[in-house]
């Protein structure tokens, strides 16, 4: 099983310079379906699924490896190496923004530009730092995953639950987007929401663009400002788009911002 198969890597376009898109928690490379095509002319587009999501090889999942974001960052570096990526653009959404930060410090020549969509180096408030969530709220989130398993996974992953006794449900709920293994999603949520990568921000030399949405309950404005302050060569752009997924809700604004940056 090669790295490219493991992460279901898709490459489009023939340009020399690569633009790698990394999806966040809760989805897969389909996240970028409204944004990535806009860059196919000028860039070699690289799309992939994190292990445990979409079309990745679930058997490659290791609780130990993926209990910190380092494991995901190692995968990004391996994908980059497999495709001879240099001076590329990394576009990471949500938790993958921080995965890109870690990958960039592991392989400094791989990425010259980082686009961080809705990033957060730490979700839990701590001292003067405001991440947007109390520790209790994050516990509640993780409990939700544990306790609401059936309803949640029905909606998210009908193919995994199986619907032998109600085949019509499978038909109704078939979901070709955002496929996630419920067990892995639980663990990914824990890894994501318990992470603290504030100290890693200073290690990055690449130019960075922070795309901060308005009214993002997952990564509030103050978090974007914190990153801007601690990430050496960074720009902060507060978007008109609301929510956590401007790549879906406001693809045009997102494309324009990236284009202007690179």
């Amino acid at each position: 099983m090669s790295v490219l198969q493991r992460n279901n890597v898709q490459v489009r376009g023939t340009s020399e310079r690569a633009m790698i898109f990394a999806h966040g928690f809760g989805c897969d490379q389909n996240m970028w379906r409204f944004v990535a095509p806009a860059f196919e002319q000028k860039f070699r587009i690289v799309l992939f699924d994190h292990v445990g999501a979409g079309g990745s090889d679930i058997s490659a999942y290791s609780r130990q490896k993926y209990s910190s974001l380092e494991g995901y960052a190692d995968d990004v570096v391996e994908i980059g190496e497999a495709l001879d990526v240099e001076d590329a653009v990394f576009v990471g959404h949500s938790v993958s923004a921080m995965i890109g930060i870690l990958a960039a410090s592991k392989a400094p020549d791989m990425f010259s530009h980082l686009v961080l969509v809705g990033p957060s180096p730490r979700y839990i408030n701590e001292g003067d730092y405001v991440g947007g969530f109390s520790a209790e709220q994050i516990e509640e989130l993780l409990d939700f995953l544990d306790n609401n398993h059936m309803g949640w996974s029905r909606a998210m992953a009908p193919m995994i639950m199986g619907n032998a006794e109600r085949p019509e449900l499978g038909e109704e709920l078939v979901n070709s987007f955002c496929r996630t293994d419920p067990e892995i999603a639980r663990h990914f949520a824990r890894t994501t929401f318990m992470s603290d990568n504030r100290a890693d921000l200073a290690n990055v030399n690449a130019k960075s663009l922070i795309l901060q949405c308005s009214d993002d309950i997952i990564a509030p404005n103050c978090v974007g400002e914190y990153i801007h302050k601690h990430l050496p060569d960074s720009q902060l752009l507060v978007m008109r788009a609301t929510g956590h997924c401007p790549n879906l809700s406001a693809p045009d604004e997102t494309i324009a911002a990236i284009r202007a940056f690179v």
């Binding site: 909606a155 709920l173 955002c178 309950i217 929510g243």
Partner: protein, 555 residues
């Protein structure tokens, strides 16, 4: 007065009071319309809902999941169905809901609004909870069952393993038994022959004593002495074989092992030589053991010789005594039958080169030896083993290569009511004198009978002979009074020497009885031990021995 419903009035009612909540959302997610059902469930009046986003009505986890999963899903596939979430009502109460959402677009594909349908899932969530719990319970039970099965396999494997070991030990024990019977049988026949040979040589000796000295006579005397020496060595060998086959006649008595050991210390030290230190550790309050003292001495000398040979460069031999209780658990683990109870332990330990496991497994086999050819008979430990087993004891050998060997001999504790006799009873040396008494000799082996009767007649006794128990009883019926019955223990025609003696004594009270045997498993020797008060002369015996024993009995 009833009036016709206004156009759309029923549709309005259907929307407001449907069995589900309805929400209409602008493309940016803001609620612009809701129905009465949703308001009644959540406590939010319709006007308070306007402008809120649906995710604002959710608990924190629901909000995160809505943002990361369901909003993207709705945007990408245009709908989502049956998403399980918790709506937080105006009073903070949570309402489990299932949510469907669908984007409504115009013909050009522009998003007009989002229609959201909310089902009260309180009952269903409870049902699902029960289902999840039941599945967890079933999985736990299945896991427990699997573990049990795995454990069962392990237990079976262990039991099979244990069984194999027991069978192997049983084979070993059967082998020892078979070898014992074989050697016992050979020794028995050999003893009979030795008795004749030694008797013949004795007779020659007595005859030549009466002849005038000459050069030829001296040569005959030397040859006779050599032959007698060889025959005596052969007799020693058969005695050892009988010991191993647990068929030697033992004369167990209560004895104090400490006293026996201290009495033997000088001899042991001489056996060991100067380079080996002898140390004895006597257990306090030591019980008396019930064993044949002469044979126990032989055992200790045997073990000392083995220890000496294991310590060619010197070392230390420790003889230790102590009381020991072998419990049921201990004896159950043994392959040979050993009764649980109280034992007296005599442990002989050396600091020699020790033995490996393969050697240990064979040490009790007769003729097994680690000594150079000609240095040992390979009978020492097998003799010890036979003696201990015949005595009703137990023997264990512990050995570590390079560290030494410890042989532990467990002897049965003497019954408290048996008084200790002073020291080992020694046969009093009588002068070879005869007497006028009448002796009935019963022996089926013709040449042996001829030898015995020859000796006794030579001594001056009246001798009547019989070849079996029945013939002997007929003789007793008709002939004059007898003073002594001298009988072999094993006789043909279904009557043993013991039975014959019992019957003879019944008919003639006061009749003395002397038994002889090469080996025996008959009734006179219970488990190889002599009944108290029974007199026995072991084959092969000499002229002097028989003469002395007969005279002592008659007196």
């Amino acid at each position: 007065m009833a009036h016709d419903p206004e156009p759309g009035e029923d549709i309005e009612d259907l929307f407001e009071n449907a069995p589900c909540g309805y929400l209409s959302l602008k493309p940016d997610g803001a609620i612009f319309r809701s129905n009465a059902t949703f308001s009644s469930w959540t406590g939010f009046p319709a006007e308070e809902l306007v402008g809120k986003r649906f995710q604002d009505l959710l608990n924190i986890a629901g909000r995160i999941f809505y943002e990361t999963h369901f909003a993207p899903l709705l945007r990408m596939q245009g709908f989502f169905n049956e998403v399980a979430l918790d709506v937080v009502g105006r009073d903070g109460q949570r309402l489990p809901v299932l949510v469907n959402a669908v984007e409504r677009r115009d013909e050009a594909g522009n998003l007009l609004f989002i229609r959201m349908t909310v089902f009260n899932a309180t009952d269903r969530r409870r049902y699902e909870r029960e289902l999840v719990d039941a599945r967890a319970a079933a999985e736990a039970a299945s896991t427990a069952l699997r573990d049990l099965n795995a454990g069962l396999e392990q237990r079976i494997a262990a039991a099979v393993d244990e069984r194999m070991k027991v069978e192997e030990a049983l084979r070993q024990s059967h082998k020892m038994e078979a070898v014992g019977q074989l050697t016992g049988g050979v020794a028995h026949d050999f003893n009979n022959l030795l008795t004749i040979i030694i008797g013949g040589l004795d007779s020659i000796g007595r005859q030549i004593d009466k002849m005038p000295e000459s050069h030829e006579l001296a040569r005959i005397r030397r040859s006779r002495a050599m032959a007698l020496h060889g025959a005596e060595r052969a007799a020693t060998l058969t005695a050892r074989l009988l010991a191993f086959s647990r068929q030697q006649a033992l004369d167990p008595k209560p004895l104090d092992p400490n006293r026996l050991i201290s009495g033997l210390a000088d001899l042991l030290q001489r056996t060991l030589g100067e380079t080996i230190a002898l140390e004895t550790v006597s257990g306090a309050g030591l019980w008396r053991a019930f064993a044949d003292p002469t044979e126990l001495e032989n055992v200790l000398i045997n073990l000392a010789v083995n220890a000496r040979d294991a310590m060619p460069n010197g070392g230390r031999l420790t003889i230790e005594t102590g009381n020991a209780s072998l419990d049921e658990a201990y004896v159950d683990a043994l392959t040979e039958p050993v009764a649980p109870g109280q034992y007296v332990l005599v442990a002989v330990s050396d600091t020699g080169h020790g033995m490996d496991e393969k050697t240990l497994a064979q040490v009790f086999e007769p003729f097994f030896t680690t000594k150079a050819a000609g240095k040992g008979t390979g009978l020492g430990l097998s003799q010890v083993y036979g003696f201990v087993r015949q005595t009703g004891g137990h023997i264990r050998i512990y050995s570590e290569v390079g560290e030494g060997t410890s042989v532990k001999v467990y002897l049965p504790r003497a019954p408290a009511d048996v008084p200790e006799r002073e020291g080992a009873e020694r046969l009093v040396e009588f002068a070879a004198e005869g007497g006028p008494e009448t002796i009935l000799v019963v022996e089926d082996h013709e040449e042996l009978r001829a030898f015995s009767t020859g000796v006794l007649r030579e001594l001056g006794y009246n001798v009547v002979e019989a070849s079996s128990g029945r013939v002997a009883l007929e003789v007793l019926q008709t002939s004059s009074d007898f003073d002594l019955l001298f009988t072999d223990m094993v006789l043909p025609d279904g009557m043993s020497g013991h039975e014959l003696a019992d019957e003879a004594v019944r008919r003639r009270p006061g009749l003395k009885v002397l038994f002889t045997t090469g080996y025996t498993r008959n009734a006179i020797v219970h488990n190889g031990k002599l009944d108290p008060g029974v007199n026995l002369i072991s084959k092969p015996f000499t002229y002097e021995q028989l003469a002395a024993k007969v005279r002592a009995l008659l007196d």
